[in-house]
């Protein structure tokens, strides 16, 4: 708690309880296919992918079922062998209905995956980038940004360091931890592809102190001649945010509104890297991902290979939950969103499912007080904003002023401020409202 300015880290930030013990030592298990999978066509930032299957069509696990629509879009692959039941709307986490492909796995559907054209390690950067897009890879760290789009070095710029994000600073989650322990070789293969694609001279894998076994394991298996180092960082939230990680590892600060490329770095999640290493040599696409399923309401906590499109209710039923289940978060408890209903499917960006019961809910009986200007939030905000002032302005709907004078747009909603606020002010929510209002004002 007292290590406020940890050496080799970024400044500010918070230390929430980690709560990772329940799952970190359990090997990744496999979840069965749900009776009906729902594959949203919009699991990434850009435009929704365009379905290439018809209703009623039979597909094989791993077969492309949608193609990218534009550069910021990626392909989708069938998570199971089955029949396309429908192409329609399905509820998404953000509280919107999104176009999705409903896929009914055939009885006896297996883990086998069809393969496509492999991408060799000595392929050109363009080929690798294309292969990643076709494999449907988006950031598995949560943001869902199409990975291939990041790999293009900026106009006139260059990338000298590839940063692999094995920090996993969110409490409860151990996905990346398990991936580092169990998919080491895939990570190194993925790294080779990424180094080749970006032209970076070296790579650094950043791991927090609370995963010593992962760091040691990676170090042990480090292939010779691969310019990769593994750096162990003090534990602090949100070290996994790429700007923070780049500062912690390289001492470079990405300017406001800038991309990591502006400081010649590129940040990729460790599970994304592993996925690239696993898929590209076989020409496959993403059909499943590792998800931490945990929280007080979950009976069989652990990390699971979950087919993309598995609805939450099936997932929770399979692992078993307490009867008084009352809240489910997708992602970690700091940044994750509350699931609006249990129809919501697992997508490529879902790194964890954390379920709470009525009793164990951590934020139920909170009373909001006015801001007392204690300044805790300022000391927590890794972006050096003034959440206190932003919160006051937001309460008075002075949205434009927030953006113009107080750098609202630099806030990446990490929640550190709201976490420490003794007045329990829902700061992040206010900032989101402000950003939405500004977006709307700009559009009209």
């Amino acid at each position: 708690m007292l290590k406020w300015f940890g050496a080799g880290s970024f400044r500010h930030g918070v230390h929430p309880p980690e709560a990772k013990d329940a799952t970190r030592d359990l090997p990744i298990r496999r979840l069965p296919f749900a009776p009906l999978l729902v594959v949203p066509l919009s699991q990434h930032l850009g435009r929704p992918s365009i379905p290439v299957v018809r209703e009623g069509q039979q597909v094989v696990r791993g077969e492309p079922i949608a193609r990218p629509d534009g550069f910021l879009s990626v392909a989708m692959h069938a998570p199971a062998s089955g029949v396309v039941k429908a192409i329609g709307l399905a509820p998404g986490i953000a509280g919107r209905m999104l176009p999705a492909i409903y896929l009914k796995p055939l009885p006896g559907s297996t883990q086998e995956v069809v393969e496509g054209t492999p991408c060799p390690l000595d392929a050109t950067p363009e080929q690798i980038v294309h292969a990643i897009q076709e494999a449907g890879v988006v950031g598995l760290g949560g943001a869902g940004f199409p990975t291939h789009a990041k790999l293009r070095p900026p106009e006139g710029g260059f990338i000298d360091t590839l940063i692999v994000n094995g920090v996993e600073c969110e409490p409860y989650l151990t996905t990346d931890h398990r991936v580092m322990l169990e998919q080491r070789e895939d990570i190194f293969t993925g790294l080779r592809f990424l180094l080749a694609a970006t032209g970076a001279a070296r790579a650094i894998i950043g791991v927090e102190e609370n995963k010593p076994d992962a760091a040691a394991h990676l170090r042990e298996g480090l292939p010779e001649k691969l310019p990769v180092s593994i750096e162990v960082l003090p534990v602090k939230y949100p070290q996994g945010a790429e700007k923070m990680l780049i500062e912690a590892l390289l001492g470079r600060r990405v300017p406001p509104g800038g991309l990591p490329a502006s400081v010649h770095a590129l940040c990729v999640n460790v599970a994304t890297t592993a996925e690239i290493g696993r898929l590209l040599p076989h020409g496959r696409g993403i059909q499943e991902r590792v998800v931490t399923i945990t929280g007080p309401a979950v009976r069989h906590k652990g990390n699971y290979h979950v087919p993309i499109g598995t609805p939450l209710h099936f997932l929770l039923e399979t692992v078993g939950v307490e009867d008084d289940l009352s809240r489910v978060f997708l992602g970690g408890p700091m940044m994750g969103s509350a699931a609006p209903c249990l129809d919501v499917p697992i997508t490529k960006g879902t790194s964890g499912v954390v379920a709470f019961t009525e009793r164990e809910s951590l934020t139920t009986q909170v009373v909001e007080h006015p801001c007392i200007r204690c300044g805790y939030c300022l000391d927590a905000c890794p972006m050096f904003l003034d959440p206190s002032q932003l919160g006051l302005l937001a309460a008075n709907e002075r949205h434009q002023e927030m953006a113009d004078r107080h750098h609202l747009m630099s806030c990446f909603e990490c929640g550190a401020c709201a976490y420490v606020c003794p007045s329990h002010i829902p700061l992040v929510q206010r900032f989101r409202v402000a950003k939405a209002a500004l977006r709307k004002a700009k559009a009209s």
């Binding site: 006015p370 006051l392 302005l393 309460a395 008075n396 002075r398």
Partner: protein
């Protein structure tokens, strides 16, 4: 009048007997233009400037009036001369520096007929200040006015975000703030005795 040092005159007019907080002069702009820091600063600048002009003018007029033995024209000539001089300056600024005009000039007509300005002219005459003392007095009064205005603007901007009850919002709130500020300024009493 004793020989008061210029510094002491300045401090007196600026802090101890602040025009707004101790003499109640210039309350209209003080209450009206202290909503925003930016305008407050500019208003403060404009008032300080006009005070300086008024101080010089009234010093001159007083000499003339004494010479022609017409003290009864003091008030009317102060106000007329100050008003016309300020207008002249305003025209001059508008002509020479549109930027300065936009930031200061638009306030000038508002304040030529303002208590603080005329009060300054009358007080300095009553106190029998010589020229240098008058200037120090005007500078102090202007600085004090600006200080009060700026502090007030900061407070009011802060309170704009606070859940101030409705009957209090507006002038009543400004007055309470002014009252507390005035209490706080009492701490300066006796400085330089």
């Amino acid at each position: 009048m004793p020989d008061q040092g210029l510094g002491s005159i300045f401090l007196n007019a600026c802090l101890i007997n602040n025009f707004v907080l101790a003499y109640f002069l210039g309350l209209c702009p003080f209450l009206g233009v202290s909503n925003r820091l930016e305008t407050a600063v500019r208003m403060g600048g404009a008032v300080s400037f006009v005070m300086l002009v008024a101080s010089v003018c009234s010093f001159g007029i007083e000499r003339v009036l004494v010479a022609i033995d017409a003290p009864y024209l003091r008030l009317i000539s102060f106000i007329v001369v100050i008003a016309s001089t300020v207008q002249l300056v305003e025209m001059f600024i508008r002509k020479t520096s549109p930027a300065l005009f936009r930031s200061l000039g638009i306030f000038l007509p508002l304040i030529t007929t303002n208590c603080a300005i005329l009060g300054l002219a009358l007080f300095q005459t009553n106190k029998g200040y010589d020229f240098a003392q008058s200037i120090a007095y005007a500078l102090g009064a202007g600085a004090g006015f600006t200080l009060a205005l700026v502090l007030m603007a900061g407070l009011r901007e802060k309170l704009e975000l606070a859940p101030v009850p409705d009957p209090v919002r507006g002038t009543a709130l400004a007055l309470v703030l002014a009252g507390i500020l005035s209490m706080a300024f009492m701490g300066f009493a006796g400085l330089g005795v």
